[in-house]
């Protein structure tokens, strides 16, 4: 199985990785043009290891991986939930899960110390280097600590992040890279970490040292990248917070500066995706750490779809050559593609019918199947489990009883993904611009009215709501381990519900 290495830089990188994981859990396949799924290798570059956005993503991916480890995918199984393998051990080179690229000397130190400013002296007097550094970085920059990221300062990030190509994780990544693998980079253009990390990472990949094992394959690897333009603002810092360096009024000017730089210097990626929005929500002011917990946003979902799109591009369109002048990888002239994303209707609350047909066909069916699955687990499983008040045939036949519902697989991992998925949908629905394709708070008696803009098929005499769901489950016959049967039954049943019984999704 070929691998798709997805580098998520900064907070936006983590959140897009989360969206990608949600889509994969729902059954959106990240696959090549021949229909073969990629193994996803997430790699996060973010000095802010405590950021809530990062920790939430890591937990979700771990839960996803644990759920998937119990599943088998072959011709006999139709299940598409959790199709893509996620590899969390490439960076460690052993069984330890690690998806973050470590940055040396960024903890408990300020930027001034990091660059050795106090040492830039000759015979006790500040020298020319000192003067240059003082010119490039403000006093606020120099005094800034880096354990919560670069706080919107790409000039700091471009210095500190330049070290990661020497890290053990980068060497392990390079060594694991094989023919047929691809790379995708996620970054925001308006902050600190992403804006500075993306050009540096791209440069380090294309000009990777010849001493690093696997270097040649990486130089000519197909590389795609999404650069996320401003899509939110940050509340101004409190009046008494003099230290804060996050100021969203600079997002646009920073974006312009970065785009100008990209225009002249970024010719090393095969495909570049630009996404952004002109409708903004204001997030709580936070410089980073556990408080940086931004709500999920439609833009992040779209950015994740860029990865799906990139994976499907044929190899012939992503050819990269070695430049004889500098031994770096350079995409074939004319093969660099620039892509943008649009929606069909200008609206502040997006539903599926506002999306273009191709986007809708890609996500509507799997997302609806998975949301039905999650709602069932949330609202109905304890009624229909074996021994429940309304125990169902499928539950009795397969021993889906209290013991199963208390198992680690169900209680920790599947429950973890389910809770995160519903939370993710709610967050996107509460954001601006909102992506709110589902009415999640409807009563059980209106279960199938949850898809906004879609009228469910009526059947006066047949079973309704969760009874219809149960009926679809009761008709499923699957084989394998209990976990495999559980997931597959729900996939098959929800597919029947959304394609035949209640909707006509394709």
């Amino acid at each position: 199985m070929s691998k798709l290495y997805v580098f998520g830089i900064g907070g936006t990188g983590s959140r897009v990785l989360k969206s990608l994981t949600m889509l994969m859990a729902a059954g959106v396949k990240v696959q090549n043009a021949a229909g073969q799924c990629y193994e996803i290798v997430p790699i996060v570059i973010d000095p802010d290891h405590a950021a809530a956005d990062l920790t939430r993503t890591v937990k979700l991916m771990r839960d996803y991986k644990k759920v998937r480890s119990k599943l088998t995918f072959n011709n006999a199984s139709k299940n598409a939930f959790f199709s893509n393998e996620i590899n969390l051990t490439v960076l460690s080179g052993n069984e330890t899960e690690n998806i973050t690229m470590s940055l040396q000397d960024t903890l408990n130190t300020n930027f001034k110390t990091y660059i050795g400013l106090p040492l830039m002296r000759d015979e006790g007097r500040e020298n020319a280097n000192y003067a240059l550094a003082s010119m490039l970085f403000s006093a606020k920059n120099l005094g800034s600590t880096m354990d919560v990221g670069f706080k919107g300062n790409p000039n700091i990030g471009s210095v500190v992040l330049n070290q990661f190509s020497n890290s053990q994780e980068f060497i392990k990544f390079a060594a694991s890279f094989n023919q047929g693998d691809r790379i995708f980079i996620i970054s925001s253009i308006f902050g600190g970490t992403g804006a500075s990390g993306f050009p540096l990472l791209l440069k380090n990949l294309r000009a990777i040292s010849d001493e690093i094992n696997g270097n040649r394959l990486i130089k000519v690897a197909p590389i795609g990248a999404v650069s996320v333009l401003p899509y939110f603002k940050v509340e101004p810092a409190a009046a008494d917070d003099k230290k804060s360096q996050i100021d969203s009024s600079t997002f646009i000017s920073k974006t312009k500066a970065a785009l100008s730089y990209y225009d002249k210097n970024m010719n090393e990626a095969n495909v570049l995706y630009y996404v952004g929005d002109n409708v903004f929500d204001h997030y709580n002011h936070s410089e980073g750490g556990a408080e940086q917990r931004n709500n999920a946003h439609f833009i992040e979902l779209i950015s994740a779809l860029a990865i799906v799109d990139f994976a499907q591009i044929q190899d012939e369109l992503l050819i990269t050559n070695i430049d004889p002048n500098n031994n770096n990888g350079v995409p074939d002239f004319g093969s660099i593609k620039y892509k943008e994303f649009g929606i069909r209707d200008e609206t502040n609350e997006i539903i599926f019918s506002n999306l273009d047909t191709s986007t809708r066909e890609l996500i509507e069916k799997p997302m609806t199947q998975f949301v039905l699955f999650c709602k069932y687990l949330n609202e109905h499983i304890h009624d229909s489990k074996k021994g429940g008040r309304n125990q169902q045939t499928y539950a009795i036949d397969n021993n889906f009883d209290d013991l199963f519902l208390r198992s680690v697989f169900y209680q920790s991992y599947l429950n973890g993904v389910k809770t995160a998925y519903l939370e993710w949908l709610e967050e996107m629905g509460d954001n601006k611009r909102a992506f709110k394709p589902y009415e999640l708070k409807l009563t059980e008696k209106k279960l199938f009215e949850l898809v906004k803009g879609e009228k469910p098929r009526e059947n006066i005499f047949g079973a309704k709501n969760y009874a219809l769901f149960d009926s679809a489950l009761n008709k499923q016959k699957t084989t394998g381990e209990k976990e495999q049967k559980f997931i597959e039954m729900f996939y098959n049943a929800t597919e029947k519900l959304v394609t035949k019984e209640k909707f006509n999704m394709r």
Binding site: S384, R389, N390, Q392, I396, D397, A463, A467, S471, N474
Partner: protein, 159 residues
């Protein structure tokens, strides 16, 4: 084979009395043999038809995930019993009021022909209905076990 239903109903002869039983066996007063049609068999076939029909309706027509627990099956069992109570009573009672029951099993008479006592009352018809209902409970249970397996939603009902 012909007498299967008769033998089953005979377990409950104490309910409805031996005289009505004679009628149901098909006793012919004129020929003093059992040459009349055997009512046991007719009622039995009707009872088993009703029981099977209700079982099929429960497992394959209703076949509803919210109506698939033991309590729901039990409701169908009660419905089967009640229908058969009235069906059994109705069948025999129509014979009773239409004078289809032979005089020799209906009355005990003196040699002169005067009636000593009536041997079959309307209440006996009700008691036969009760017997029919009880027998139908057994049949519904058996039919349930036979037909339930292919029911997608109620395959585990009653157990």
């Amino acid at each position: 084979m012909n007498d299967i239903f008769a033998n089953i109903y005979l377990w409950f002869e104490g309910f409805y009395g031996s005289s009505l039983s004679e009628y149901l066996w098909g006793y012919n007063c004129a020929t003093e043999d059992y040459s009349n049609p055997q009512i046991f068999k007719q009622v039995g076939l009707m009872m088993s038809g009703i029981s099977l029909g209700i079982a099929l309706v429960y497992y394959y027509v209703i076949n509803h995930p919210e109506f698939a627990q033991f309590r729901h099956w039990f409701i169908m069992l009660i419905i089967t019993a009640v229908i058969n109570l009235f069906a059994g009573w109705g069948w025999v009672y129509s014979g009773f009021i239409n004078g289809e029951i032979g005089d020799c099993v209906m009355y005990a008479r003196e040699a002169s022909g005067s009636i000593i006592s009536q041997l079959i009352y309307a209440s006996d018809c009700w008691m036969f209905g009760v017997a029919n209902a009880i027998v139908s409970i057994g049949f519904f249970c058996i039919f349930s076990l036979i037909v339930k397996w292919k029911s997608s939603n109620a395959g585990h009902s009653p157990f």
